[in-house]
Structure formats: structure tokens, C-alpha cells
Amino acid sequence: MFKKVLIANRGEIARRVLFTCREMEIATVAVYSDVDRRAVHVLEADQAVCLGAADPVESYLNIDKIIAAARETHAEAIHPGYGFLSENAGFAERCAKEGLVFIGPPARVINDLGDKITARNIMIKGNVPVIPGMIQSESDPAVLAEKATEIGYPVMIKASAGGGGKGIRIVNTPEELQASCEAASREASVAFGDGTIYLEKFFTRAKHIEFQILADGHGNVVHVLERECSVQRRHQKIIEETPSPSLNPELRAEMGSAAVAAAVASRYVNAGTVEFLLDENNTFYFLEVNTRLQVEHPVTEMITGIDLVRQQLEIAAGNPLILSQDDIVARGHAIECRVYAEDPANNFMPSPGKIAYMQEPTGPGIRNDCGVYSGFEVPVNYDPILSKLVVHARDRETCLPRMVMALKNYILLGIKTPIPFLIDVLESSPFQKGQIYTDFIERHFSEWQPRLVEADMARIAFIVDEMNANRRKKTAVLSEQTVSTPFATLGGWRL
């Protein structure tokens, strides 16, 4: 096993990797940008190397600097986490060239699966069902219009190099097609440096079900069950759970086999996730493979007892999988809520700022993979995830109140969070019944505002606090972050 690993990421996921490394007695090297000197991963790693300016291009996306940091600290391997360089084939290749182990799939696999069209073709050859759509990218409007008619509206425009909901457009009528294709291509171009697009059938009432896979360098492949990730806002998952309330054992086995087939077809190595779309007739289609550790990996860990980061490290070190498919058995139910610095009542606008006070929920079956702390200033420069709150209980019915309780006991002052929104979603009748589709939020919660049922208690708390105001150290009053304006409009997501 490696003696030292560099973690090329920040916040909660860097800390997550750090935990497992420490347990395996692997020394850790954190890297950080100028604004992250006080970030948890820097405080907790054995060593930390400053990369440079806040802009990711100068720090977390800067391959040369990261390689230099690994050299300087004599790290043997690099864990990329998720986001940043985790699905960058060039980075994986560079690591290999430098004699460093990239903890993830080989560059070839990242390349093949990163190009959505290539991935579709691999899956078709591997007998993995794919969504009706184009098998090559296109820029000719006439061809696109013809294909769209062939597939049948609504269609979805996707970026060939895409991921994370970027460069995606849904087109309902032929009239919108051309403008949408141009916009999507432009957005993809900005986000990925590649404006290539293609079309797929769009399913209005679909579910997003994904399977965790593990594949070693010796030809062993297993799937580690599914995750239900249909609850999304702006194509980004916010609540994930496992087992999926939509699968029965037969369908689970069938989709699990397809996930393994996808891994085999792409000659996959390390941990990955095969994403499927499940339509209302329980027919499933391959969507894409995420060639990295997934944000929502903890729900799988909770129900299987498997440490996925440890598996990644073992595989990267060349060890064979010790798990066989029969060893992988679910126990109970797990749910994850992503807690972002954002305002759920205002279109999920980011809400960076200083965390004046934080208190994490605790209790049996509660895990909070957290990247921030009281007094930490959440930087404006990166993804707004603060933590992933995960609960585990014997079944879904028990899991739901446990998560609601945990959310109510999760105190974050100084920034806005989706906590009240998440509570309302979890307590809603369609969620409780498992009627979850990718349009869940738009359908049920598009005009969501917090229910201010305890306003009178809040007024009383105000008065009591005011009467005892002198007990608190006077801190500089935080700057205004609450005014909503109709003149701010949301744009696309940047990498």
C-alpha cells in the first residue's frame, strides 16, 4: 500500500479521503488555494502545500502545480476526489507519465466514457440498453432537425463532453430546436472547451437510478447496488437514497448486471458509477458513467458496510478485489441530503459567507461528511457544498424521521442553507410514498417558500436575545445578503 497520498481536492471530499488514509496509516498531503488556508482539509492533513490563487485554474485545476506538490512531498499516489481534475484524462495520463498513481480509472477509460457519444457506442456493443438517440455528434441544423423528428419530441440536447447538468437543454417543439442547440453548444464550449452536442429522447417522468461499480486490475467486477437520485434541482441531485423505492429484486438484479456489463465493456478499473434512466414502464437506459467517487457514495457505504475510498486505494495499489458479488448485501436504508450554501427560497442562489455558528447533528445512524466549521468563511470561488448529511436506519420509514430530526438539529448561522426546504420535501406526501421523478422539484416545489409556523416563538427568542445582548462578543455585523432582486437571472454552471 502507498505510504503517502496527495489529495487533489478540497472541503468535505478531501476530508473524506483523509479519514480513510489515516485509518490505513497512509500519510496525507493536502493542497490548497490562497482562500483555503483555513479549510478543514488543510487543517487535518499531515502536510499541506499551497498551490496559488483562488481561481481553480491557478490551484485545484492546475496540473503542473499539483504534480510538483506531489513530487516535493514524495507522495506516491493522487486521489482526485470528485469535480476538479477527477475526470480529466490528461491529468490521469500525466500522473502515469510522472510515475504517480492516479486513484481512478486509466486515462483511456476516462477518455472513452467522458465522450458521451463514444460511451453510447461502447454500451451498444456491450449490450447495455441506451436511450434512443444519436450515435454521433452533429452541428448541421438540418441533420439535427431530422434526427429530432426521428427520435420524437421532446428531445434533450446534451454536450458530448458534458456532465454535472452543464450544456443540457430540453426541446419540446421543432421551432425551439435550432436556438437551443446553439445555446447548448455555446455553454458546452465555455464549460468544457468543446461545443459538440447530440440529441437523445427526453423522458418527462423518468427516474435517475445509478449503480456503484468496483473493478480491479485483474478482471474482477462487482456492482455495489443502486442509488436513487431522482430528486434534483437544476439537474443537480440534492437528495439520494438506497435502496431505491422503485426497484424490486428482479429489476435490481437486471440493472446490476447491466452495470457490470457496462464496466466490462469499457474495460473499467477502480470505482465508478453507471447512471441509468428508468422510465414509467420500468424500462431502463444507460445514461453515462461517472469515472470517479460520487458525491453520494456514503449511502452505499452505510447500507453495505463497505468503505469505497478504501476499495479505491486497494485497487489503485494493484490489489485484487476481496469482495465477490455475494458479499455485497444491503442492510437497512440510507438517505443523503446535500447541504449547500444556497437560498432555497430564492432559486437556490449561492449564499457564501462566514459561518457564525455551526452545530452538527449527532445520534445513532447519523453521519455528516462536513467540510466547514464555526468561524469558517465559505469562499465564493468553489462549489457551494458544505456537507453531506447521511442517515441510516432499518428501513425507509424509520430513515425519514431520522433525517428530519437530524436536519432540525443541524445548526448553521451566517449563511443560508436548503435545510428547511429539505425538511419539507422529506415530509411531503409524494416523497414519503416514493413517487420521485426527475421533475419532482419543479412539479411539487417550484414556488417553495419556508413555512413560518413558529414565527411567534422566533419573536420571543428575539426579545430574550435582545435582553441579554451583552453576553455575546460583539462581532462585525455581516454584510447584507438577503435582498432578492428580479433583475438577477441565473446563468449556466461553470466547471
Binding site: 465564493v380 425538511i423 419573536r459 428575539f462 426579545i463 430574550v464 436575545d465 441579554n468 445582548a469 433583475f487
Partner: protein, 186 residues
């Protein structure tokens, strides 16, 4: 003491009488309740309101206090004190080009002297991987651009000065070629 406390546009008048140590009597719009409290920490107050226990987490802000109860944050304003302090800002329609949240400037698709229409994008910002476009609050002419690409900006900071037309102009073609870059998906 009398308080006039506003939450989300609803103002209630509250009379309080100190009773003993850590207890007060509260009369809210005619209804009387007994409140016992424990100051657990700087930010946490445990309340017993007519026998019902509540944990409230409180923080001071420029517009009042944020009170977090059972996962929901209430912004509580003291109308008596805040009315004097604030100068007609609040949640009215903005008249200035300023970010909602600390951000980084991605691009400024207008130049000094450009004519802009109300709603036209004038600054593109990014905060935590999400892009936001700030739009002109009224028809007018760009008088000054105060920021450049890559700069960090904060709420309250005026990014672009626009001189309003004398009257709301109804004409005004879209002569800014970069405008296509912006897309309103709201």
C-alpha cells in the same frame, strides 16, 4: 418594554414584563404567555413558552436577528429601531447594479456610453460555480463601469453606473453584440 417585530411583512406588537430571574411575561397582540429561558450559549437560547420547549439559535445581522427554530430561519426585524437606520432600501425594486452575494466578475458585456434597455444584462458574475447576470434596472446609458473581469465584488458595491433616460424610453435596439452570451432561463 414594547417591541414591534416584523417577520416577512407581518408586524406584531409585543409587551414584555420581566418576572424573575430568567422568566418574562409576554403579551403578544392581546395573548399572554409565560416564558422561562436558559441562555445555553452565545447563540443558543432554550425557551419554555407556556410549557412548550423550544431551542432557538440567534445571530445578529444588519437588518435584525436571524432566529433558527427547527430548521427554519426567521429574519426578525425590530421595526422601531430599524426604520430609522435604513434608508428606504429593503426589498423594493433595485435601482442599482450590485450583486446579491459575494461574487467574482466573469464579464462586463457593456462599455461606457452604451445605451442599455431595462432588463438588459450588464455584468455577468459567478458565485460558487453558478453564473448570475445583473441587468439594467431601467433604460439608460452606461456612465461608468467600476469593475473588471476577475475582480471580487460584494453586495452594496455599485458595479456599473447607468444614467437613466429622462422618460422611460420605448425604443432602443439591442446593439450590444455580447448580449447573446446571456441567457435567461428563469
Amino acid at each position: 418594554m414594547e417591541y414591534k417585530l416584523k417577520i416577512n411583512d407581518e408586524i406584531k406588537t409585543i409587551e414584555t414584563t420581566a418576572e424573575g430571574d430568567d422568566t418574562i411575561k409576554v403579551s403578544m397582540e392581546g395573548e399572554d404567555v409565560d416564558v422561562a429561558y436558559t441562555l445555553v450559549s452565545d447563540h443558543r437560547i432554550h425557551l419554555n413558552i407556556d410549557g412548550v420547549n423550544v431551542n432557538a439559535f440567534v445571530m445578529d445581522g444588519p437588518d435584525g436577528k436571524t432566529v433558527l427554530i427547527n430548521g427554519v430561519a426567521y429574519l426578525v426585524e425590530d421595526v422601531q429601531t430599524t426604520r430609522a437606520k435604513k434608508k428606504g432600501s429593503g426589498s423594493q425594486t433595485p435601482t442599482e447594479v450590485t450583486p446579491i452575494t459575494p461574487s467574482v466578475v466573469i464579464s462586463v458585456p457593456v462599455d461606457v456610453g452604451d445605451r442599455v434597455k431595462k432588463g438588459q444584462g450588464v455584468v455577468v458574475l459567478s458565485a460558487m460555480k453558478m453564473e448570475t447576470t445583473l441587468a439594467a434596472p431601467f433604460d439608460g446609458t452606461v456612465a461608468r463601469v467600476n469593475v473588471a473581469e476577475g475582480e471580487s465584488v460584494s453586495p452594496g458595491q455599485i458595479l456599473v453606473d447607468i444614467e437613466a433616460d429622462e422618460a422611460e424610453s420605448s425604443a432602443g435596439e439591442d446593439k450590444n453584440s455580447k448580449h447573446e452570451y446571456l441567457n435567461n432561463i428563469k
